[in-house]
Structure formats: structure tokens, C-alpha cells
Symmetry: D2
Subunit: 182 residues, 4 copies
């Protein structure tokens, strides 16, 4: 069984961008599922890695990004999926979790072979990250109930692309076997 890590994409968010209105209902729906995935990961000792946009705040660290998100207009969408003391962090500046970030290095360091992706946005950062993981020969799992979208049709197409062209498994959280990486 491949060694696994759970990656939480862009959930530390102030929801101030222009697509927020379309996104928020989908985040609200995914939220308990992401929280459930985090609980399963934490109970099994699977590393949880938050990879989050820094919104061009190169002065802020991830604690400050979290504080701003909690204090923002949708703190209730951030609090249930907040990092705990064991969570790992990687800050990104662009869409993909791998582009110009140390994530690949961290995953190599941990011996991770399989990534479970959750978070937002299905047809954007999640899709691009699944691709960049597949290109780097990671196994990719995306539980559809744990990713949030802006455009339902494109999100559906994105999930089909992941399955068909990136060899991704798109199964429910409880069907995922977690064999923690150390």
C-alpha cells in the first residue's frame, strides 16, 4: 500500500475574490466532508499538509494568513478545517500546489507516494494540482465530496479528466485506505 499524505488546498481563505459568491455554497457543502477526512487522517497518523495561496502577502506567515481568514467574512468556513499542531504548511503563490513551492521536496522527504487532495477549486487548483502530481508519478485520490467548485459543469469535467487522463481515483472518503507516510 502506498504511503499517503492528505493535502488541503486553499481552504485558508478570506473569500473576498470575485468568484466567492458562486464558490461559498459549494464550500459549505464540502466542509463537513473535509473535516471528516482530516479526522480520519489525524486518527491514523497520516500527514496533513496545508498548501495555501499567500495572496501576495509575502510579509505574512501562515499563522497570520489563518488569523486573517478566521477574522474574515466567512470565518465559519475556515474554523472547522483549521490546521492543528501537527499540520505541515507550504505556501504557494500560483495555482498549482507544486509550482515554485517546496512541496515535491517535502513529499520526497516523507516518502509519500499517494496524495489525497481536498479543498478548492475543483476545476482550477485541484485539477492543476492533480495533473502536476500525476506528472511527478504520485498516485492521486480525489474524494468528490471533499472538493468545492465555482462552475458545476467544469467541475464535473475536471473530475472526469482526473479519472481518465491522470489515473486519479475519485472515491468517497470512507473508501480510502490511509497508510500514513512518516
Amino acid at each position: 500500500m502506498p504511503q499517503t499524505a492528505v493535502v488541503v488546498i486553499d481552504m485558508i481563505n478570506t473569500y473576498e475574490h470575485e468568484d466567492a459568491e458562486a464558490l461559498v455554497p459549494s464550500v459549505r457543502k464540502a466542509l463537513p466532508h473535509i473535516a471528516h477526512l482530516l479526522t480520519r487522517a489525524r486518527e491514523s497518523g497520516t500527514p496533513v499538509i496545508y498548501v495555501n495561496d499567500n495572496f501576495r502577502r509575502w510579509r505574512s506567515h501562515h499563522g497570520e494568513l489563518l488569523d486573517a481568514a478566521l477574522a474574515g467574512r466567512h470565518g465559519e468556513l475556515v474554523e472547522p478545517v483549521s490546521p492543528d499542531e501537527d499540520s505541515l504548511f507550504v505556501v504557494k503563490a500560483r495555482h498549482s500546489i507544486f509550482y515554485e513551492t517546496p512541496l515535491a521536496y517535502l513529499l520526497g522527504d516523507l516518502g509519500v507516494e499517494q496524495l489525497v487532495l481536498c479543498g478548492q477549486v475543483t476545476e482550477q487548483c485541484v485539477l492543476y494540482s492533480a495533473l502536476d502530481a500525476h506528472i511527478r508519478h504520485f498516485d492521486v485520490v480525489v474524494p468528490p465530496e471533499a472538493v468545492a467548485h465555482i462552475d458545476a459543469d467544469l467541475a464535473d469535467a475536471a473530475l472526469r479528466m482526473m479519472r481518465r487522463n491522470m489515473a486519479a481515483m475519485t472515491c468517497s472518503i470512507d473508501a480510502i485506505t490511509l497508510d500514513p507516510a512518516r
Copy 2:
């Protein structure tokens, strides 16, 4: 007007992979349009860069890849869009034209700001390359008649993703203004 290069993706191909049957009719349809784009590029002095998979043949150079494709089962899909003496070449090993290739360096060297993408496969390498170009702040143009797909629905979704999420222009070849990079 931004300095432009035309990128021809994976058209040097032996069509021996499992999706070839679904792909070939779409390539056949795109072929004269790609040839027309190449003619326009060459007449205007716009650089044409072939970025092509090496199919794990690390011993072969691009001349040999071309010979194999011309001698393959669908040489007639390769010949009309073959490189000429001025064509530039970058060999890739994975899906995106940028992943572990010197393309970004070459484009910087040429001063290119805008990429016109053509070739195959719309919902795979073309989509991923459009994304990786957008992440790197290139302007992206994709003429829909000059890209070939395996799955028509996913190709349509891919073009919508490019427009909506990667700021790509998807206009016809004759609507593109070519201001050549040097």
C-alpha cells in the same frame, strides 16, 4: 502588441498508442488549419517551436523522431506539418510543454510574451500547456480549429477552462495578429 511564437504540440507522432483511433479523425480535421497557421507564422517571421514528446527514446534526436513518425502508420498526418529549416525544437518527456524542459528559458531568450498553441491533445497536453503558460504569465491563444481531441466533451470543457480560468483567447487563426518575436 505582444511578441508571439507559435508552439506545435506533439504532432510528430507515430499514432501507435491506444487512443490513436479516437484521435486520428480529429487530427485529420485540424491538419489543414495547423498547416495554415504554420504558413502564416513562416510568412510573418514568427518563430515556430515544435515541442514534442520523445516517447522515452532518449537515444533519438528530433530528426530521428520525425523520420519514425513519417515512416509510421499515419505519415500523412505528419508530413503536412513537418518542421522546416527555421523551426526550433524542444523535446519533452511528460505532458506539459514546460515540465522539465528548456522551453521557458528559450522563450525568455526570444522575448516571447504570447504563445499560440496548436496540435494535440486538446483536453490533455494542450490544456496542461495552456495552464503552465498562464502560471508563467504568458498570454495564451488557442485556435479551436487547430487542436485535436480524443474526447469531444472534455475538449469542449478544456477550451472553456482555458477561456474562463487561464485568460486564454480562443479565436480563429485568421483573427490572430502575429507580431514575431526575434
Copy 3:
């Protein structure tokens, strides 16, 4: 005149590694010069970017790395060159400031063309960072009084390599013209 940023390499340090004894006297000597460079940068509005090893503490953010260094055995080597509220931060996991970090992206975002490097270790991270900056076509300036070494001979060779093979200027801090990037 090229737009400039000052990069402070690995000065947030607990000095617990095996080479610390050889390094500390050189850091002590460089310290007032680095502080002087920081003063000049801050007065002129030149961006100051701390690029610092995370010592595999993927849970910690840069504020925590700073706190640990200030509380460490050589807090007096950290305090005079500590970041202020305007300082930018990039965390690195390996030697070069560019390897698997968002630094290149940040510099592009700021329009930086020239890097003034200071910090430690001259014949290691400073040398590698100068090389990686030169490969990416940045102008490199290294004030010899503002970099600290472990091995004086290798540090001298490193500075000659930077001059001869990386087109770096190795001039004193007061000879540097700072034209701030924004």
C-alpha cells in the same frame, strides 16, 4: 540602473550545527556590515527579502523560526539583523535560495533585476545562490564584508568564482547604488 533587492541568506539561525564553531567568529565580523546594508536598504526603500532554511521544521512559520533563533545560543548574532515589518520572507529547504522556492516568482513580481546577497555561508549557500541567480540572468552583487564563511580559503575561492564565472560584482556596501524595486 537595475531595480534592486537585498537578500539576507540564513541569518535566522540557532548555530547548533557542527560547523558553528568555525562559522561564528566570521558571522560576528560580518554582522555590523549586514546591519549597515539593511539600514541603507530600508532608508532607500529597497525590498529586503529574508531567504532562510526551515531546518526541516515544516510545522513552524518564519516567526517561530525567528523566535527559536533569538532564544538560541547566539541570539546576539540574530537580533541586529532581524526582519522588520516590511521584510519579505521565503522559506527554503535546501542550499540554494532558488531551489524549490517561490523566490524567482517573487522577484519577477517585484520587477527585480539585481540582487545584493549577504549572509552565510560564503562558500556554500551564498556561492550556490549567486550561481542560481546568474543562471536566471539576474545581476549579482556580493559585498565581501557582509558574508560569513567557515573555511577562509574556500570562501576566497568562492568570491573569485563569483567574479570570474558568474559576472558578480564584489564591491563594498557603500559602493553599491540601490535603485529600489517596487
Copy 4:
């Protein structure tokens, strides 16, 4: 024992650059040792990978680069270390063998863990490549008799840096155990 590949750096060369005069005598001296290393590699089935500058000739393939070098002013320095039919090729545009090239991908594909570096220039591309290999956690071996320099003092410092700071072994060719990667 780690799986090994031999990397030949920049030996396909027309020797027309300004440092050629200083470099050629050192290449002449290293040449029989490189040829000996190639013989050992080929007899043991160890992959030999040529990583060579393309001198900004993006139109040429490696066969053409080789032809130009053989026909150049120092063809006698190229012929004895020419690629054979089993040699692999990676073209580079800048100093390091890893920067914007598919080498890391190829090495992963082959399962290589240890690199034996030979070629030119000790205190430039060989040094930078050793560093970039070390950063990526490859074991590095550099036989001093099989690398050529421009500046003897800097070359000596470079070899000390590789040993001290990049955990490189600098032993003679016959002391290297070759366990071929496949």
C-alpha cells in the same frame, strides 16, 4: 550498492569560446581518462548520459552538434569520447546539467542513485552540476583525472568544495564500483 550512471558534461565542443586556449591543454590531459571511464561504463552496462550545451542552436539536434564539434578546430578532442549507439542525450542551455532540462526525470526513470561526473569545466559546470545533484540527493563521484579546468587554483578549490560540502567522492576511475542502472 547504488545504481549508477556516468554523465559526460560539455565534451561535444567546438572550442571556439574565449577560454578555449586555457582549457584545451587540460582537456587533452583528461581525454584518455574520460575514454577509459567510458570503456568501463560500456563494458559494465552502466548508462552513459551526455549532457551538453546546445550553444543556443535550438534548431540543431545532438547529431548536428556532434558533427559541428568533430569538424571544428579540435575534433581530436571530441572523437575519442564520442557517443555510441547506446548513449543517452540531454541538451542543456545553461551551466548546470539539471537547470531546465529533463535530466532529473530521466534519472528517476532509470532508477539512478549515483552519478559519476566527467568532462568540463571543473570549476564551472562540473561544480554546479555536482551541487545540483547533491541538492537532489544523488550520490556524486568525480574522478579528478577525468575533469578539465580553465583555472587550476579554482579547480582545486572546486574539488575541495565538492568533497567538503557536497559529500562527493573524488576518487580515481579504477576505484569506482559501477553498479549499472537499467
